[in-house]
């Protein structure tokens, strides 16, 4: 293990910060992440990508779990908590992805996204509503010009098992219907069998399909579905691959597979976007989704964003929570801070 790591080619890059802390457990001379083979290459071959991705420093799983657990013990109280709760609410992508979704439900969700707590005008709105592609029109109409974005899942969500033409048509439909953001899934089957070139190509193709006729482009979030990637090494590779292919956001999960977003997974993805900015100056967002249900979980994530990626990411433009029930818990905590009384499920909407 040590010999293998030492033998890796290393580049003279600035101190990669947290990677040092993590990998220090495994090696005295931390390998810096190798640069991609060539910047701005239109497409990459399997072999080229494999050589690059497998040359990335391995993730020390025990170290990552420990660091995530340690950051989770931070105590956030009073004014800091009030700030963090408001920030978390403004980062929520309020999501409904059920087979039983109806236009009525999407309208209700959009109303909630614009005014999460109708009893308190100081409560921030959420970042977006996230719906299936066929309901984008309804959501678009419901949010209007309130500033709440409309995100649509596309590319044969959640499995991603369809031909590229179908995926692209799915994406174009959603963009044409008015989606501001597209949440695509990667082909995990291809990724796990090492066909990185195919995954890369598909992300680039979908990114291209996100273009609107007026030259602007819908934001592309790439769902890695980390619950199916098994190891943190694979999560790091998938993150780097998605970022290289042009993702504006990398997102942990569809929410349909367990485990979904866990702290160590988000940690590795945050390291990936931080390293990418150090190397290229380009910022990419991160969106953990699925399994974040309590305010406490959300605050733990925010602490980690601050400590791993940096305060620049503490902004709805760069960090989002994909969640449905989380918002209610955030609102209940907010009411508790404001009134001093604990509240219950009777004080928030059921959705």
């Amino acid at each position: 293990m040590l010999a293998a790591m030492a033998a890796r080619p290393t580049l003279d890059l600035p101190d990669p910060g947290d990677v040092t802390t993590l990998d220090a457990a495994a090696s005295d001379t931390p390998p810096a992440p190798p640069a991609p083979p060539e910047q701005l290459a239109p497409s990459r071959s399997d072999a080229e990508l494999r050589a690059w991705l497998h040359g990335l420093p391995g993730v020390d799983q025990v170290g990552a779990e420990r660091r995530a657990a340690m950051l989770g013990t931070r105590s956030i109280k009073t004014t800091a908590k009030a700030y963090a709760l408001d920030l978390a609410i403004s980062m929520v992508d309020l999501t409904t992805l059920e087979g039983q979704d109806t236009p009525g439900k999407v309208r209700a969700l959009a109303a909630k996204a614009q005014r999460p707590d109708p009893t308190d005008r100081s409560c921030p709105r959420t970042a977006a509503v996230c719906v299936y592609g066929d309901l984008v029109g309804v959501a678009r109409e419901a949010v209007g010009d309130s500033g709440v974005q409309v995100a649509a899942v596309a590319t044969a969500f959640p499995s991603g098992r369809a031909s590229l033409e179908v995926k692209l048509a799915d994406t174009r439909d959603a963009v044409a219907a008015g989606a501001d953001e597209i949440d695509m899934v990667i082909d995990r089957g291809a990724f796990l069998t090492g066909r990185y070139g195919l995954v890369h190509e598909q992300i680039m193709a979908v990114k291209d399909a996100c273009r609107r006729p007026d030259g602007t482009s819908a934001h592309l979030k790439v769902i890695l579905e980390t619950g199916e990637l098994a190891t943190l090494d694979a999560v790091r590779r998938a993150s780097v691959l998605a970022i290289d292919a042009g993702a504006d956001f990398i997102k942990t999960s569809t929410g349909k597979v367990q485990p979904a977003a866990t702290l160590p997974v988000t940690l590795v993805m945050l390291q990936a976007v931080r390293d990418h900015r150090e190397r290229t100056g380009v910022m990419v967002g991160v969106k953990p989704a699925g399994g974040i249900r309590t305010s406490k979980d959300a605050l733990k994530h925010l602490v980690m964003v601050h400590e791993v990626a940096g305060p620049d990411w503490l902004d709805p433009a760069w960090f989002r929570f994909g969640a449905s029930t989380l918002l209610n818990d955030l609102l209940m905590q907010r009411m508790r801070l404001r009134t001093g009384r604990y509240t219950g499920s009777d004080d928030v909407t059921l959705d």
Partner: protein, 293 residues
């Protein structure tokens, strides 16, 4: 064996009973519990307002399933608690003697009374609706029926009496279908946690009864002001100022409040309990149904 070996004491850690599990206090605090003779008995968890909050969440989660069980089944479960309590009576007698300094006969009488009280309430499970419900005569071709329904999550402050006091507040709450969070006797918390062990092994779903040990004055206000708590039983609050404070807090969301008995006429726990113990925490639901013509 000729030589004497000394065995190290295996001491029980008294924790809370929340959501069917036995967690320590979130605050990691504990307080010393002393027996009637002043000797040290054990450290009990000193629950905080966050434990109270967690307990309410557990109770709310359990309420749906428990309240929709048939009254007959709830009676069976409460009877089962009596059976298991009877089976562990030696342990309870020993704990009561240590805690209260009573003699063997008094301790046995106390456990007898607690078991009998559970059996008495178990019998009420499917009969309360017959006594306080009604088929109302109305001026139209309708059946009009009033039935008692559980109110929801009830917080209770148990009386000082460690076993009978606790059983007397918990049994009427759960037999009618409520879920409860009960603050055990501050002075004698240990038998309450042992009773938690009994309930955990009596087919009672986790979270229907949650037992906290700690200070009444600390746990009372967060429970009384909690908007997800629907009722408040102040049986064990002997300080009139605290009782008033809690009642004021409970008014915010119109909790049903059962006031403590006045100091000059303390409640006789051994007497047959009044039906009002059950009826305070039920709501009358009236339904209209067309009569077939």
């Amino acid at each position: 064996m000729s030589e004497q070996t000394t065995r190290i004491d295996v001491r029980k850690t008294y924790k809370l009973y929340v959501g069917g599990a036995f967690p320590r206090s979130e605050s990691a605090r504990s307080y010393e519990v002393h027996g009637a003779d002043g000797g040290f008995l054990a450290n009990a968890s000193l629950a905080s307002r966050k434990d109270a909050r967690d307990a309410v969440v557990a109770a709310r989660k359990a309420f749906g399933g428990w309240s929709t069980r048939t009254a007959y089944n709830r009676g069976q479960v409460v009877y089962r608690i009596a059976e298991v309590l009877e089976g562990r009576r030696a342990q309870f007698e020993a704990e009561l003697r240590q805690a209260q300094g009573v003699d063997a006969a008094q301790a046995a009488a106390s456990v007898d009374a607690a078991v009998d009280r559970l059996v008495w309430y178990a019998g009420w499970a499917d009969k309360l609706a017959q006594v306080v419900g009604n088929a109302n005569p109305v001026a139209g071709p309708y059946f009009n029926v009033s039935v008692p329904e559980p109110t929801g999550v009830v917080a209770a402050i148990a009386p000082t009496d460690p076993l009978l006091g606790l059983v007397s507040v918990v049994a009427p709450l759960i037999v009618t279908g409520n879920a409860c969070v009960v603050v055990a006797s501050e002075e004698h918390p240990l038998p309450a946690i042992t009773l938690g062990e009994v309930m955990a092994t009596s087919d009672l779903p986790g979270g229907v009864v949650n037992v906290l040990t700690g200070r009444r004055a600390e746990l009372g206000p967060p429970l009384a002001s909690h908007l997800d708590v629907d009722g408040l039983d102040l049986a064990g609050v002997s300080d009139p100022a605290l009782a008033t404070e809690l009642e004021v807090l409970a008014a915010e969301n119109l909790k049903r409040v059962r006031r403590p008995a006045p100091a000059e006429r303390p409640e006789d726990l051994l007497a047959e309990p009044p039906l009002e113990r059950m009826t305070t925490f039920v709501e009358t639901k009236t339904v209209w149904h067309p009569r077939g013509l």
